[in-house]
């Protein structure tokens, strides 16, 4: 993983690097060895690797979570915040997913929906899905 981050690919949101690393390790998504001899657009490469989401996405997810769980303004939310630690039960998680679908105009598979446990994971999934949609 470390060698990739120093390659020509540019990742945004450097500040959440550690989270991204653990994310990639946990989800063995189609990680294919990249053959540098062959031309691949950076967009294709992105599809093979789970990138950390943009801070704006994380912020939007946080707002939705805050509203769904009726959290007080002084409950600090970070990308790593776990839904369960915030008191979300499965019904809350499903409502959060529905709100995310509406906000970002995406459609989440039930299996994916149940795997979202943190704000970061939700944001990453949103960006994955938004990317896979045909260009508007």
């Amino acid at each position: 993983m470390a060698s990739l981050s120093t390659s020509s690919l540019s990742f945004k949101a450097h500040s959440i690097q550690s989270t991204r690393t653990s994310q990639v390790l946990r989800k063995p998504l189609s990680f294919q060895p990249i053959s540098f001899g062959r031309f691949q657009s950076s967009k294709n490469l992105r599809l093979q690797i789970s990138c950390a989401a943009k801070p704006e996405t994380v912020q939007k997810v946080s707002d939705i979570v805050r509203e769904q769980l009726a959290l007080s303004a002084d409950t600090a939310l970070t990308a790593e915040s776990k839904f369960s630690a915030l008191g979300a039960d499965s019904l809350d998680t499903v409502e959060i997913v529905m709100a995310l679908e509406e906000k970002f105009n995406i459609s989440v598979e039930e299996a994916d929906a149940q795997n979202i446990t943190t704000i970061q994971e939700a944001a990453d999934l949103i960006e994955d899905l938004a990317q896979k949609k045909p260009a508007a």
Binding site: E67, Q68, T75, S81, K82, A85, L86, G87, D89, S90, L91, V94, E95, M98, A99, E110, A111, Q114
Partner: protein, 300 residues
Amino acid sequence: MRISVMSQMQRSFSIDLPSLIPLQLPSRRETHLWYVIPDEVKSTSLLKRYSQLLSQTEKDGVDQMRGDELKKNALLARTLVRTTVARYQTNKEVDPRSLMFKKNVYGKPEVDWQNCKNCNHQPLHFNISHTDSLIACGVTVHVPVGIDVEDKERKIKHDVLAFAKRFYSADEVNVLATIPDPEAQRKEFIKLWTLKEAYVKALGKGFSAAPFNTFTIRSMPGTEEGYSLCKTSEVTADPLEETKKCNGEWKFALLELADSHYAAVCIEDDQANEGAPMRVIVRKTIPFVEDQLISERIFL
């Protein structure tokens, strides 16, 4: 019927807790449903003693919760599981701290009998569920159990039908759509949610094994609170035909707890007991302090 254990204070564990009153295991087709109301547990010294029962992992889990109320509820949930399971040990008093837990391959928590010193291996199954204001634990023998509790007044942020269309089966949506009063519709939605959750939890294979829209739970005609499960492919227009096709492998009970919550219980049908009704015994408890028998009901 209240049973106070204060007289048991004489025999205590090294950490100065009273003994736990032992319990008889449930019979087949019987579910014991225990619940705690967090608001009724106020003593900080009692809560401190509870925290001494937990494993380090459980303590870490409690610490992770954001806010005192959530921490307290997480503590009570683990305490309820440990003390309840310990009480069913038949031959001797088992220290609730010595119980070990593990997760099955899909992540469902279960008792790890092999690694528990002094435990005798029992065919005991349990499942917990909680809301902000109630924590419940269901116990069965020989068959898996799933329970789910939900606040009756819980408001859904989305439109109930839109939510159902997105996640429930088409037949369930049809049933909900025929309810004219929005409040009655919301209540039915919540009841269905608890029943569906209870099934998935009883199944113990994670949510992806049984996505909500692949099965229908419906009330059984002719029964007051009987529910049955049909896989979506089996639902037909003819109710009689359907009753024959819907598998009877899973039994359901829906009850109300403390006037404030719906509770759904789902157990796997034990072939040996086919035809026998399902019984649910509800007790309210404050671990180490008191038990109160609430109800004993049969569900057809």
